[in-house]
Each structure stands twice: as C-alpha cells, then as structure tokens.
C-alpha cells in the first residue's frame, strides 16, 4: 500500500527519465542519504568509522568498479586488487612529485592512471572471452604487484617498499579524525555510485549490456565492440583506482604491494557474486556481506558461547566463524543465485502488489 506507483503521472520527458522514477524510491534515497550524512556522523563511534564504515564504503566502490566490468559489460576480471594498487601508488606519487597538487585532483589522476593500465590489460578482451579473459586479467594481478615491488621508484625508494600516505588536506582543512575521513569517503562514493547508476542506463550502459548478452548480435546492430569493451575496462579501473587511493589514504594509511593480493581480487569478485552481478545496489550489499558478516560473527560468537556456557578459545571461535561464514555463502547462493540485490528486487515487486497480490 505504501509502495505503489499508482497515481504518479509523468507529464514531461525529464520526469520520465529521472534516476529514481518512483516517488517512494526518491524519498527512501533522500532519507538514506540524510541518515548517512547527518545522523551517523553524530552517533557512530570511532570503532564504527575506522573499522566498519570506511572499509565498507571503499570496498563497495571497488565492487562497483568490478560490477561495471563484469556485471554490465560481461568481461570477467580477476585484477581488481591490482588496479586498486595502481590507484594507491599513483595517488601517492602524484602527491609526492607534484608540489601543491590538491588531494582530490591526485585521486582523480590516480583513477585515470588506473584507467590507462586497465585499458592496456583490457586489450586481450577483444580476442578472448570468459574464463580465458579471466586468466589474462590474472596476469595484470601478478604483473602489477611484481612491478610495484621490483621498481623502487614507485615507493620513493623506501627500503621496505611500503608507502605511507600523505596528509589529507582539502582547501586548507586537514582530515584527521575518522569521522571526517568517513564523510570524505562517503561523499566520493555517493557521487560515483550515482554516476554509475546514471551510466548504466545511458547509451553507454546499454551498449555494455548488449555486448554482455551477445557480442555478435551487438556488433550486428551497430555497436563497435572495441571502444565499448575498452571503455568498460577504463571506467571499471577508474573506480577501482579511486577505491585504491581511498584505501591507502583514508583507511590503512600505509600500504605495500603485497597487500593487494589475488586474495583481495577474489574477495571483490565474491562481493559482486553474492551481492548481485549487474546491480549497483548489489555491490553495496555484497561488500556488506563479505566484510561485515565475519566481524559480526566474531563479536557475537564468543557472546553466544558464553551464554551457552561453552568453553571456546579464541582460536576455536575463529574457526567456527569461518565455517559459519562459508555455510551462509552457500545458503544465499542456493536460495538466490542472482544475489542479494535480486532478493531486494523481489521484495519490491511483492510490495507493489501488497496487500492484494493476484
């Protein structure tokens, strides 16, 4: 009853084409934005900012990047962490080597650098598809990490290869507290997520989806495969690159190439598989699932064990946590192979008919 679009008439093209065509969605998004921008900074603790919210937002952005490539354009990639590494190291080097460059500009440049590298490693996609392409992007994963380790220039000849992010100063204001960093990350993520949502329904996004569904058919109807695929690689890597820069500057503070391992690429891939391939919302849900569930289990399991009087050691709890986490992944994939975003979509459809389903 609450969620019904009856009576909402569109009288102009602009109204018909807006990002959220249903009024309830618009209100919902506005409330959500108000909560995350105004309420959360006031109530959340430092632990929430530094350990939960900031990494969640950064990984959502990286998952979003991968989702553009894999979910929308259908190109499987295992190199997301490597593109994040490019972004992190590029942002560091722009800050280091160009005097007085604003930090946001170096984030954008970091994204563009990652996009350039992404195009380079996207070239094989013109000839190969599916799992074979995944292997080609795996090469990116190993090559980039090797490259950053091998050439000390990238880490400014630091003896250990670890880079330490510079200060975050925007318009003379230094972002030091977790709360400020959260707001900075949130703003960037919101802007980029809305841009992605917009892009997905534009002609670019439609071309990506056409290529994803059947590239031969797409080229027959006049979509040029090369620019379309490479653009998907570029945009995706741009998102991952910015996520990487944020990862270094707003979350960890210091990173080493080995931190951006294949393991991390897999985690990002699992995020979009569990969250929903080809869905903006899915990237956020997936990141939340993969990142936050283990923490939740970690905190709640000892409590439950205490309640039941079980003598669990720290190590046992960690083992159980891994077990439960794995079981939940299986459960959700069996219940809804299309991801958590699909569950939300089904809920929405049911809500539209409620309380009179036919």
């Amino acid at each position: 009853m609450l969620y019904r679009e009856a009576g909402q008439f569109k009288t102009s093209y602009a109204a018909d084409q807006q990002l959220f065509p249903i009024r309830q969605d618009r209100i919902g998004i506005l409330i959500l934005l108000a909560v995350v921008f105004l309420v959360i900074p006031g109530v959340a603790s430092e632990y929430w900012f530094s350990a939960i919210l900031i990494p969640f937002l950064i990984f959502s952005l990286a998952a979003l990047g991968l989702n553009i490539l894999t979910g929308y354009a259908g190109q499987l990639s295992l190199g997301s962490a490597a593109f994040m590494a490019v972004g992190a190291y590029a942002a560091y080097n722009f800050q280091l080597r160009i005097d007085g460059i604003p930090i946001l500009v170096s984030f954008v440049c970091a994204g563009l650098t990652a996009a350039g590298v992404g195009i380079l490693f996207g070239l094989p996609s013109l000839w190969i598809k599916g799992f074979y392409l995944a292997v080609a992007t795996l090469a990116a994963q190993f090559f980039i990490v090797w490259c950053l380790t091998k050439f000390p220039w990238f880490s400014n000849h630091s003896s250990s290869g670890v880079i330490s992010a510079q200060k975050l100063i925007i318009l003379g204001h230094e972002f030091t507290s977790p709360q400020e960093k959260y707001l900075l990350v949130l703003t960037i993520v919101v802007v980029m997520a809305l841009a992605a949502k917009n892009m997905a329904r534009s002609s670019t996004g439609r071309a990506w989806m056409a290529v994803r569904d059947m590239d031969v058919a797409a080229s027959v109807i006049g979509i040029r495969l090369m620019p379309t695929k490479l653009l998907a690689f570029a945009v995706s890597s741009f998102y991952c690159g910015v996520a990487g820069a944020l990862y270094a500057f707003c979350y960890l503070g210091s990173v080493e190439p080995d931190g951006f391992s294949l393991d991390m690429s897999f985690r990002i891939l699992f995020m979009i598989i569990i969250g929903g391939v080809g869905s903006i919302l899915g990237s956020f849900l997936g990141a939340a699932f993969i990142l936050l569930l283990p923490i939740f289990l970690d905190i709640s399991l000892p409590w439950v064990a205490g309640l039941l009087g079980l003598p669990f050691s720290n190590a046992t709890v960690s083992h159980i946590q891994v077990l439960v986490f794995g079981a939940l992944i299986m459960f959700f994939l069996i219940v809804e192979p299309h991801g958590l975003a699909r569950l939300w979509q089904i809920t929405k459809e049911k809500l539209r008919l409620w309380p009179f389903p036919h």
């Binding site: 632990y47 530094s50 080995d258 905190i299 720290n314 083992h319």
Partner: protein, 439 residues
C-alpha cells in the same frame, strides 16, 4: 572542534579512571592482537601462547605487577592487515584507560598502526620486526622496535662472518638471498654499507613469495660460488632453501638465516639437509632457562596454560613470546616506578616506561631469564635498546647456540635509521621531539 572533543574525551576518561580507582581493584589491560589461524597460525600459536602464559605467570606468582592484576583481551587478525586494524579499533576503547604495549607480530599490521597508535597514545612494540627507523624515538614516540632490527641483525651477521674469517672480509663474496617483500628488502641498505666498509662483494637475489620454488636462484648461487649466503627467508621458503642448498651442494654451515628463518618449524621439515644450518636469534630456545621451566610448573600446574599442545613450550617462538611479555611487563613496572606503584598505567605512562627500560643482566637473573634475551637499555634516541643477536646452529635435533651476544655496527647503521626517520617526518609533517629536553 576536534581540540574541544579531545579535551572532553580526556575529561571523560579521567572520570572513568577516578571511578575505577574508587571502586575497583587496579587492573592493567593488555590489548592483544594475535593470530592463531591463517597462513602463519602455527607461528602465532607459539608466540602468543608464550606471551599469554607469561602474563598468567605474573598474575599467579606475584599477583600481578606490584599487585596490579593483568587482564587482557585477544582478537584474531589471521595475519591480515585489515583485520588487524579492525581488532585494534575494537580493543582501543579499553586500551585508552590502561594499556600494555601492543605486539602485532606482523610487519604489515605494525605499519598500518604506526600513525593510529601515536594519535591514540597507545604504545606499540615491534620486537624484531616492523618499521625499523622507529629506532629514532624523536619521530616515532609510540613505536618501539625493541631488542634489535633487521639492519642491526644483518650487520651482526656480517660481524660474525668476519670473526670466522679471522677479521677480514676483503675480496669475499656474500650472496643475500631474500623474500621479495618489505621484510626481505630492509637489510639491503645495511648490507651495502657493510660491503663498502669491509670491501666484500655483495650479490642480492630475490625470491618471490611464497618461495617454494628456488631452482633458478640456487643455480645462480652455484655459478657465483659465494663464500657465504645470508638468508632472509619466511615460512615455506626457509625449508625449500635449505633443501635446495643441499641439492646444489652448498655447505649449510656457510648459510646464515635471519631470526625468522631460524625456528624448529623451518628446520624440522627440511630433515637432514638442515644439519649445520646457522641462523641469528635474539632469544634462545629450550626449557633450561629457569623462567621457562617455572612457567611450565606454575601456569600449567594450575591448569591455566594457554597452549593446547604442550610440546611447544621451549621452542624458539614460544620463548620469543615470553621474552616479548617480559619486556612489556618490565615497561609497566618501570612506568609504575615513576607514576605510582600499584596503579594501572595508561598508554602514555607505559610509553615512558618503554623509553626508559633498563633491563640489566642482574634483573634478568632475578626474573630467571638469564640469557633468554640480551640486556636492554632504551632512550628517546634509541628505541631499539640492544641491537644484539646470537648465532645458533641446528644439530639435526635442536638449536645450539654457537656464539655470544654479537652487536651490530651501531655507528654505521643508526645514522641510516635517523635519515630515514627524518624523511618520514618531512613527508608526514611531523616536528621531531627534542630528545635532549624530553626525559
């Protein structure tokens, strides 16, 4: 605004402190970010087992530090940087009231925590790993690479070889075989300086992680025919290297590993090949140290032992965990001397304790830890405090110490730290403390 918030927070914390003082018995909190599962879980079990056992031992034997009971909370990091930060943030609230030093036992996590611990005024100890230029306490007030660092260790190994070669290394060839990561790369600078000073020829050969295939590297070593191989290995790489050395016929007693390449976990799987292999260590293995034997008696006798597998007691890593705990407890004790005996110490106070540690051989004897670890005397200038290692040799069954404490070349190495710390301070916009004033 943030200044205001900080002072409000301090006020709140001090109110809590007052309330605690009034109602509860004093308790010293130790935040423990540990790992007992994951790729290095086996190492973590031994180290943190030893660490926690010593804390229990102090509680059982002396009813805490001057009567202040030690309490602790553990959080599993799985050797993962992101999890390490999550754990740190989780334990931070408690650690703001009273905190023993944090031991992340992971270079990655310690790097990620350097800025955070300084901002939160919680001391972090990196005993034998981590950011080595933190030796310069004027730039890194809250980070303590205690006992010795990779660079000093490399320098000490060179000194050991030099003694073996009757005082001259001129014209000798030394290969540095290392794990291609932050850990493996750090000593290179030190070795290059040593090569210049002692006029030996240095060849560096990296091994990619995880290092379970080293055919090409050892082929190169065979061609080079070096006099010695200094070896900075890690995990599975260690046993592979020892086996590969046997295959190409390189004598194992000319191969000297770092202290991460010198535990039972490295030599036992290599079997016969490991016989004669040398490694550096800053603590000794075995149960013949009185303290270790006493821990087994007191803690395990009371059924409060932390290890599931008692056979790990007395291993290199277990004893290392005990040594790390000894240092931490001594730092709290030192802080109590200044800020009030029988009181729980805040992170800031323990920081002072760590910076003014003076553990003499007499004190070590009192604890029962003679020869377990070297003497330590820290200062604002020198957060390392010792820089000494021993060289041990695997006799096929156990580690046998074959040298006395060897100190690295401080006059050569410490200026490197200073320079690196200054560069860090410049990059980060930190104004270093004046060590002369700050006591």
């Amino acid at each position: 605004m943030s200044k205001y918030r900080k002072s409000a927070l301090t006020a709140a914390v001090s109110i809590i402190l007052l309330a605690q003082g009034a109602f509860a018995a004093e308790e010293q909190f130790f935040p423990i970010v540990s790992y007992r599962i994951g790729p290095y879980g086996a190492n973590g079990q031994s180290f943190f087992g030893g660490f926690v056992d010593y804390l229990s031992y102090v509680n059982l034997k002396e009813h805490g530090i001057n009567g202040v009971k030690i309490v602790w909370e553990e959080c599993e990091t799985e050797y993962n940087n992101a999890k390490g930060i999550e754990c740190y943030e989780r334990l931070k609230d408690k650690a703001k009231i009273s905190a023993g030093p944090i031991h992340p036992m992971s270079t990655g996590i310690s790097y990620a925590l350097i800025d955070k611990t300084a901002a939160d005024q919680i001391p972090m100890a990196m005993v034998g790993y981590g950011r080595t230029d933190a030796v310069d306490g004027s730039v890194f007030p809250y980070a303590f690479p205690l006992v010795t660092t990779y660079q000093m260790q490399a320098s000490a190994i060179v000194k050991f070889i030099k003694e073996k070669e009757k005082g001259s290394l001129k014209g000798k060839k030394i290969v540095f075989l290392y794990h291609d990561s932050a850990y493996g790369k750090e000593p290179i600078v030190a070795l290059q300086e040593e090569a210049k000073l002692n006029k030996f020829e240095l060849t560096v050969i990296p091994v990619a992680h995880p290092g379970n295939e080293q055919g090409a590297q050892w082929l190169k070593i065979r061609q080079e025919k070096p006099d010695y191989v200094i070896f900075w290995g890690w995990g599975v790489m260690n046993q592979t290297a020892i086996k590969a050395a046997q295959k190409v016929g390189f004598p194992r007693d000319k191969m000297i590993g770092s202290w991460w390449a010198g535990s039972e976990e490295d030599t036992v799987p290599a079997g016969d090949a490991a016989k004669g292999y040398l490694s550096a260590t800053w603590n000794v293995a075995g149960k013949d140290v009185p303290l270790i034997a006493d821990i087994e008696k007191v803690v395990y006798g009371a059924g409060q032992g932390n290890l599931g597998d008692k056979s790990k007691i007395g291993t290199i890593l277990y004893n290392r965990g005990v040594s790390a705990a000894v240092l931490s407890v001594e730092a709290v004790r030192k802080a109590q001397e200044k800020y009030g005996e029988g009181k729980a110490m805040t992170g800031e106070q323990v920081r002072w304790g760590l910076e003014n540690l003076d553990i003499t051989d007499a004190r070590l004897k009192e604890i029962g830890a003679t020869n377990l670890l070297p003497e330590i005397k820290t200062s604002c200038d020198n957060h390392e405090g010792s820089g000494k290692v021993k060289i041990q040799q695997w006799d096929g069954e156990k580690w046998v110490v074959v040298s006395d404490w060897i100190e690295g070349n401080k006059t050569l190495i410490h200026p490197l730290f200073k320079a690196s710390a200054q560069q860090y301070a410049k990059e980060k916009g930190i104004t270093p403390r004046d060590c002369a004033k700050d006591m």
